[in-house]
């Protein structure tokens, strides 16, 4: 079961920890945004936001039925892009593997 491949034995313990800590920090930031656009703007603050208007929608309603979904899409692509940068920085990327 301990199938750690040769690939990572070349990577220093320090880089592994650094990579994982940076990943967790990035996750914390993105999940905060995820929470704010859906549970924040779409649920808890929605009634208050309804006093403003956007493209003819009440703002809270727009977040709940449109805005949150657009934000979700953006969050995943930002994560994929930032992780690629992190992985190259710490030398743990999968660039050399069979590409798609």
């Amino acid at each position: 079961m301990s199938n750690r491949s040769d690939h990572h034995q070349e990577i220093s313990e320090q880089n592994l920890t650094g990579y994982w800590q940076s990943n967790l920090r990035l996750l914390a930031k993105l999940l905060t945004v995820w929470f704010l656009v859906s549970f924040g703007c779409g649920v808890v603050l929605a009634d208050w936001l309804d006093q403003y208007s956007l493209f003819g929608f009440k703002l809270g309603f727009w977040f709940a039925q449109q805005g949150a979904i657009y934000a979700f899409v953006a969050l995943i692509f930002i994560y994929a892009w930032q992780m690629k940068i992190l992985e190259r920085k710490f030398g743990v990327d999968d660039d050399k593997e069979r590409s798609s």
Binding site: M1, S2, N3, R4, S5, H7, H8, I11, L16, Y19, W20, N23, L27, L30, L31, W34, S38, F39, G42, V43, V44, D50, L54, F55, G56, F57, K58, F61, W62, A64, Q65, Q66, A68, I69, Y70, F72, V73, L75, I76, F77, Y79, A80, M83, K84, E87, V92, D93, D94, K96, E97, R98, S99, S100
Partner: protein, 563 residues
Amino acid sequence: MTTQVLTYLFVGASFLLYIGIAIWSRAGSTKDFYVAGGGVHPVMNGMATAADWMSAASFISMAGIISFMGRDGSVYLMGWTGGYVLLALLLAPYLRKFGRFTVPDFIGERYYSKTARIVAVICLIFISFTYVAGQMRGVGIVFSRYLEVDVSTGVIIGMAVVFMYAVLGGMKGITYTQVAQYCVLIFAYMVPAIFISIMITDNPIPQLGFGSEVNDGSGLSVLQKLDSVLIDLGFNAYTAGTKSTIDVFAITAALMFGTAGLPHVLVRFFTVPKVSDARLSAGYALVFIAILYTTAPAVASFARLNLVDTIHNSSYEQAPQWFSNWEQTGLVSWEDKNADGIMHYSAGSENEVKVDRDIMVLANPEIANLPGWVIALVAAGGVAAALSTAAGLLLVISSAISHDVLKQTLMPNISEKQELLFARLAAAVAVCVAGLFGIYPPAFVAQVVAFAFGLAAASLFPALLLGIFYKPMNKEGAITGMLAGLIFTFSYIVYFKFISPQLNTTEHWLFGISPEGIGSIGMLLNIICALGVSKITRPPPLEVQNLVDDIRIPGGAGVAHQH
């Protein structure tokens, strides 16, 4: 050509396409059968995931539900898309790196326990069969209305097609069929939506259309007009909610975490070549899903406005053709309570018209007087949505049986050839069971949808999350947590839905949370129990801790390996 001939042509042509793909992409090994050989392009996998995810419920029922719930329907829109963020950030890349075949595989290996694996298999089978039953009902409705065949015949035709590509092709056949099915279903959804948006507001983009002005010269936007029309008829305003904030919060959370824990969605991310592809693929999947999910609320508001306009205060004699077409299916009905020959639609007891939510998408093209080929397209789209999801679910059921129960637990000595044969047999049996569900639908189908998401959120999601992010989590903790979440959520739903349905009101609910949202409490309970028990029992063995280190690093994913 009549609409019916067109419908036969469209649905028939789509079936031929699916069967053609099935023959072209036959599975040759267990790896082909379980994870499509592990070489699916991320965009292709995104499309397949979207088709897998968008079921008959998303295609046929969701806009209808929102149409009648108004703002309260937002929980489904946010819940069923927000889960993909959790999936992409917290689970998919790590499960891909782990690189085996099924979700119970991960639970069994990470928690070094056959018990944990079997608990995961039980959760998986329960979640997936609940879901399949709903798909078969969708196929039945489409066939009985559009092709005017018996519901049973419709289900049997549908099952025969799924049988062809699921049993022959396994994951490989299903993946490429789902790509085709996505194209059919999204085209079928968007065409009428764009037509109707132009008709009502002159704006060709439905997502913007339902905020635009209605082109009747009133100067009101669609939502403003809908609010005022509905209030006049005694309904709640469309853009105002009736559910309490805490309940909306809990339901949205249960749907999100449940989405991220659904086995048939998770397993799709085992099929891409490497870890970074799993992340990208989840992003593409959500783009393809978002196209439909941002259109649905627009369709919902247009359809409600259209419905009130065409039905309310019009005489039954001059009722449009669609009304009598759908009356035959029992999905709309009119009872002339005051014997004046006029249809009254309102919230109070004087209401004379009953409308089933499922017709809001299916009848929409007819209500809006769109040409016959659009109606035929919607029929083909509805069938594609139902079949693609059914196939994905049947595959996870059959691989859990052949791989986790037989190969990994009961009969470890069978060869790969025998395992593949068992996988095909299990898929065949699952198809037949699902077919029976469709022909003899259990009365509780509609009642138990909350089960699938609540149980996934309360059982599988925390076990996967803690397995990746909390290294000291051990088998005792994980098994206790899964069972606690599962039993609590299951009992709460059964109590309020079946044992004492008369008590199913806000004042009796725990913290004011409805059975639909209770999965989020079940999830917290699972995490608390798992953490508590893991503190007082032995930590996991060293090789499991090494496994956790290994899945956290993207490099070296290789291909899905045999073990």
